[in-house]
């Protein structure tokens, strides 16, 4: 056995220490599953062994399945093999439960997913009283359910309702709460966990599980003749539909597995669970979520796009030019990450106003007990406000976040560069102006780069790094190292109007506004957008961004592009609202919506006068397709034009940048989910019906014809 160390002590208690080699965390590799079966068999059959304690040789007890392996199973399409593997683990755990020897789990660190399921199959569970130790079944977060008995043992231990809460939400709990809920038997100091488990084994030579004893009943009842259970299932099903919009199959599958399983004997119940588990692995949603949210996001966090040449270089001192909303946010997150920040604006008073943002957020964090006041104080000490460019001396990186106008940006670029050392990098946080053009104001364009944050900076996880025509590798590496310091997720894109994220996202809001102009019922547009999984509807988001800003950008783009500008009916709508109606967006208190004081916003009733509802309204599925396909097609164009270079960046950017629905795995995974040939055929129909923006790019048509996909068989970001 390579993954489990087995030592038998003088009392005949076997200590099974899980330590999967070459892995930072214990995960369920095929080798581990085989070793576990071997160890269990040995304990069960060896007369010299009285029982066993299962512990971990790593800091955490065990995470669940190896997602790098699971993510490829969707493409392999072999449900029988998956079922056999799942049933294999279940059989090992049943052998452990029913072999007549006591097994106790000494949970020294975090146990999640399959790791917790191993513990649940032990007859006794003792958890270490340790800061940061959590227990949970987070499978739904990657589109799966527990497949090692979690959906069956947990409700049999703690009752259906509390078990459903844990599993459908994928919530983690601390040992004390787990003990209170009833799936941990004891919480002891970390150093005593193994001994406590060992003592229990010695004291309980003939352990059985409650569900293997005669007359066992699920705590709180089970089955559809139990009113409380019915209530739980009815309300649970509705809430899951509300939360998932029918886009994520895993949470409702948890309810089904628990409902169907808890009226059966445990062995039959595990069969139900295994089949549901495999059915989810065969669903593209789990593949999409594992691939984008886990595998590829982790790769991005580890800076898979970083040029190998330049040496790793942390930012010690950061300059932020402009203390407006974005600059204030950048200063805050950077100071929190330990950097010295120089926050510069035209006056110290203005810079101080920007620092107030950090003061406000830190006060809230202290109030909630998330930060000590000492820590908050040192964060604030790290932000130095100024109006003097000389204070930028010694900065490793300077980010400008001044008004979106070339002249102003050129001015601050020159002033800042005058103070910078040769190796320092200058970055623009522009969201609209091409980087190559801005870099013309720089005396060292190879050190000039775009670092595009999203608003609010402290909440949004993505940073879009924009490489201008002359940007060099050192700048790219420095920008990425900086993003890693912030613990945010970077993608790297090439220069283009709107770069990648703003460009594709604007397609979404424009399509929505366009439908409004066509006479589509605005409630239908907004509701369908949310049901498709977008965080907010296209009209609501335009109000949030402000129609005025939207109109400003449109005018600028028109001016820049001249005859090349492709007009959209959406432009007329935005112009009307800003210039004629004076409904400039949420901040102005009126846009596509009304914002009555102290009440929920409502669609402005006047919409129907300006854009009367068409007699025939589109099917919701058609509205949904227009909203999602338009974004996917624009992404393909970005890929074709080299704005994004890797499908994984496109997917990560869409999900973490503007909230393209995670169940799709991102804009390109969405196309793979539909299937390339089917997507192309549908886009052709949409182009015919609604215009050129749905035209299929040649590269996509070719891929579909040749039976290729964006990722091929690969899951990873490479």
């Amino acid at each position: 056995m390579n993954t489990i160390d087995m030592q038998i002590d003088g009392d005949g208690v076997a200590l099974l220490t899980i330590d999967v080699p070459d892995r930072p965390m214990n995960v369920m590799t095929p080798e581990f599953l085989a070793d576990l079966a071997t160890a269990v068999e040995r304990v069960t059959t060896d007369d010299a062994i009285r029982g066993a304690v299962i512990a971990s040789g790593k800091d955490a007890f065990m995470a669940g399945a190896d997602l790098h392996e699971l993510v490829v199973t969707f493409a392999e399409r072999d449900p029988q093999a998956l079922l056999a593997a799942c049933r294999g683990l279940q059989a090992t755990l049943r052998r452990m439960e029913t072999g007549g020897k006591p097994f106790a789990a000494a949970i020294n660190g975090t146990a999640l997913g399959g790791g917790l399921e191993v513990c649940l199959a032990c007859h006794y569970r003792v958890a270490a009283d340790r800061e940061g130790l959590v227990l949970g079944q987070p499978e739904v977060q990657v589109g799966l359910i527990p497949g090692g008995g979690g959906t069956q043992r947990l409700p049999r231990l703690i009752g259906i309702e509390p078990a459903l809460r844990l599993i459908t939400e994928g919530r983690h709990v601390k040992p004390a709460e787990a003990r209170h809920l009833g799936f941990i038997d004891a919480v002891v100091p970390a150093a005593e966990a193994v001994e406590a488990a060992r003592q229990w084994v010695l004291a309980n030579p003939e352990a059985t599980q409650p569900w293997d004893r005669k007359g066992f009943k699920v705590p709180g009842g089970a089955g559809l003749m139990h009113p409380g259970v019915v209530q739980t299932l009815v309300v649970g099903s509705a809430l899951v539909q509300k939360q998932t919009h029918h886009n994520y199959p895993a949470p409702i599958t948890v309810l089904s597995a628990v409902y169907e399983g808890t009226v059966l004997p445990i062995d039959r119940a595990l069969e139900i669970e295994a089949k549901y588990f495999v059915s989810l692995l065969m669903d593209p949603v789990s593949r999409n979520m594992m691939r984008t949210l886990f595998v590829n996001k982790n790769a991005a966090d580890k800076l898979v796009r970083r040029p190998k040449g330049p040496e790793k270089r942390k930012v010690g001192k950061l300059g932020v030019l402009g203390a407006g909303m974005m600059g204030a946010g950048i200063a805050y997150v950077s100071a929190r990450a330990g950097m010295q920040v120089v926050l510069l604006d035209v006056s110290t008073a203005k810079a101080e106003a920007g620092k107030d943002y950090s003061r406000k957020l830190l006060a809230k964090a202290v109030e909630r007990g998330k930060t000590s006041s000492d820590d908050a104080g040192s964060v604030l000490d790290r932000i130095r406000t100024t109006s003097a460019y000389e204070d930028l001396a010694g900065c490793d990186l300077v980010i400008e976040a001044v008004f979106e106008e070339r002249k102003i940006k050129a001015d601050v670029t020159a002033k800042a560069e005058a103070q910078l050392a040769e190796r320092a990098v200058f970055a623009s946080n522009t969201s609209t102006l091409p980087i190559t053009g801005l870099a013309e104001a720089s005396s060292r364009p190879e050190q000039f780069i775009g670092i595009h944050f999203f608003s609010p900076v402290d909440k949004m996880p993505l940073v879009e790094i924009i490489v201008g025509e002359r940007t060099g590798e050192v700048a790219i590496a420095q920008a990425l190292d900086y993003v890693q310091q912030l613990k945010k997720t970077p993608i790297v894109v090439n220069d283009s109007r709107g770069f990648y994220t703003s460009r594709v996202f604007s397609v979404f809001s424009r399509e929505g506004i366009r439908m409004l102009a066509e006479g589509v019922n605005p409630a239908l547009i907004e509701n369908v957008a949310k049901q498709a999984g977008m965080p907010v509807g296209p009209l609501a988001v335009t109000d949030e961004v402000s129609l005025e800003l939207s109109w400003h950008i449109t005018q600028q783009t028109m001016a820049d592009l001249g005859d090349a500008y492709v007009a959209s009916p959406a432009d007329d709508v935005v112009r009307l609202f800003v210039e004629d109606l004076g409904r400039k967006g949420r901040k102005a208190g009126a846009g596509f919506y009304d914002y009555p004081e102290g009440q929920e916003k409502r669609l402005w009733p006047g919409l129907a006068e300006h854009y009367p509802h068409a007699a025939v309204q589109p099917e919701p599925t058609e509205v949904r397709k227009r909203l999602l396909y338009s974004q996917a097609l624009e992404t393909v164009r970005c890929l074709e034009e080299g704005v994004v270079t890797h499908p994984a960046d496109a997917d990560i950017g869409s999900v973490f940048g503007w909230g393209f629905p995670p169940y799709t795995g991102g804009t390109l995974s969405f196309i793979e989910t539909v299937g390339l040939p089917a997507f192309v055929a549908e886009a052709d129909r949409l182009a015919e019906a609604y215009g050129e923006r749905f035209a299929v790019p040649d590269s996509l048509r070719r891929m579909a014809a040749e039976g290729r996909t964006f990722y091929g068989g690969r899951a990873a970001a490479a």
């Binding site: 003749m225 259970v229 809430l239 899951v240 509300k242 409902y259």
Partner: protein, 402 residues
């Protein structure tokens, strides 16, 4: 095909479905027994001639379980040769039982039957039988299940019926029911429920509130706002109907059907069977139909089922003198009136379940009898009886006086 005729019908008064309701101490089988006895006694019926007793019952568990019509047949001292069968088409069960009893006659396989229903909602609460439709998560997910009250509010939200619209309808239901009672228009068919000592427990519907005003109704709290918002049902309904900007919860206990106890029975047979027993045919059952519709909005089945049965009978809505649609919720009736373009003076002319209550398994048989009595009183010919049904169904029957 043999024609099926209605010879007689009886119903109990409806008792408030609460522990203080007049019928709460009466078992369901006793209620069913008393309507069967009444039919026998009013018609001097030789029960040995009966081929079947079909009863609707929506929660056939506990004391309503185990085939309650056969139990009642034995308990009522009917001939032991009379079988019984219980069926469930939710709220239309009572009408479906009449239709099924008639169908046995029409097909020539029975000569004389009874259709009817029973529901003691105070003793066997709604939902006591549970079911996959709402409680199996996979089914609820697939069908976008929401409780009926949410569906009724969805109809109002979708079709723009305001709180005042539905309350106004409810006031009218109360007014019409009170007028009918005052004038004795129900007297010919309502049989008082008696206790063991022969004393009358209830002789009149207990649920109506004739004093109801629009102002009083306006003060009631919406019944389904809390579950709609907190349990997520509004969101589920909007997923099916994304054209609705916001959900308006307009239904209250004042404009929805009341929860009551009651039973009803209808004597049906061929002309020949009636002749042999000296029974006079009062109406012919011209046709009936049920239909399935979208289950989330659930309660829009009446109009399509009406159109289906009208087409089957070669008739149009203009050929119908009186319409009787169960007042499950006011919005259901308002939508029906709109869809079939019915003159309000022809629809539910003596009120309905908003005033008098809706004993689920019995209501269909009750309202069929009520409208037959009214056809006779007004000397009109045809009536269409209709109910909306859980799970997205509708059931309709056309009767014609002879």
């Amino acid at each position: 095909m043999t024609d099926a005729y209605i010879f007689d019908h009886v119903r109990t008064p409806r008792g408030r479905g609460k522990p203080d309701g007049a019928l709460h101490a009466v078992t369901p089988v006793e209620l069913a027994t008393q309507v069967l006895r009444a039919l026998r006694e009013r018609n001097d019926l030789d029960t040995g001639r009966l081929d079947d007793v079909v009863f609707g019952c929506v929660s056939p568990v506990g004391e309503q379980g185990s085939c309650i019509p056969r139990t009642a047949v034995l308990n009522a001292d009917y001939a032991q040769s009379v079988p019984g069968k219980q069926l469930n088409r939710f709220c239309a069960s009572g009408l479906e039982a009449v239709n099924t009893a008639a169908a046995q006659v029409m097909s020539g396989q029975s000569d004389l039957t009874i259709g009817g229903g029973v529901e003691c909602m105070s003793r066997v609460p709604m939902g006591s039988d549970s079911g996959a439709m709402h409680a199996d998560p996979a089914v609820a997910w697939k069908t976008y299940f929401v409780p009926q009250g949410i569906s009724a509010d969805l109809i109002a939200s979708l079709h723009g019926f305001s709180r005042e619209d539905v309350d106004r309808y409810a006031v009218e239901s109360q007014r019409r029911a009170a007028r009918a009672w005052e004038n004795g228009w129900f007297a010919g068919s309502v049989v008082p429920v008696k206790d063991r000592l022969g004393d009358v427990l209830l002789a009149r519907d207990e649920h109506p509130r004739p004093e109801t005003t629009l102002e009083a109704l306006a003060g009631l709290k919406p019944s389904f706002a809390a579950i709609g918002e907190q349990a997520g049902f509004d969101a589920v309904a909007l997923q099916r109907y994304p054209q609705v900007e916001r959900f308006e919860h307009v239904h209250t206990p004042g404009n929805s059907s009341g929860i009551v106890d009651g039973a009803a029975a209808v004597l049906i047979g061929s002309r020949e069977a009636g002749k042999a027993l000296g029974l006079t045919p009062r109406a012919r059952i011209r046709g009936f139909a049920s239909i399935g519709t979208e289950p989330t909005i659930m309660l829009t089945g009446p109009a399509p089922s009406a159109e289906k049965v009208l087409a089957r009978c070669g008739m149009s809505a203009d050929d119908i003198d009186l319409f009787e649609l169960n007042e499950a919720f006011a919005s259901v009736v308002l939508l029906y009136r709109q869809k079939l373009d019915i003159d309000p003076e022809k629809l539910n002319v003596n009120g309905g379940a908003i005033a008098m209550g809706h004993p689920l398994g019995a209501t269909g048989a009750m309202i069929l009898g009520t409208v037959l009595d009214e056809l006779e009183r007004r000397d009109l010919a045809t009536a269409l009886v209709n109910l909306c049904v859980g799970g997205g169904m509708g059931t309709a029957t056309i009767i014609e006086r002879v």
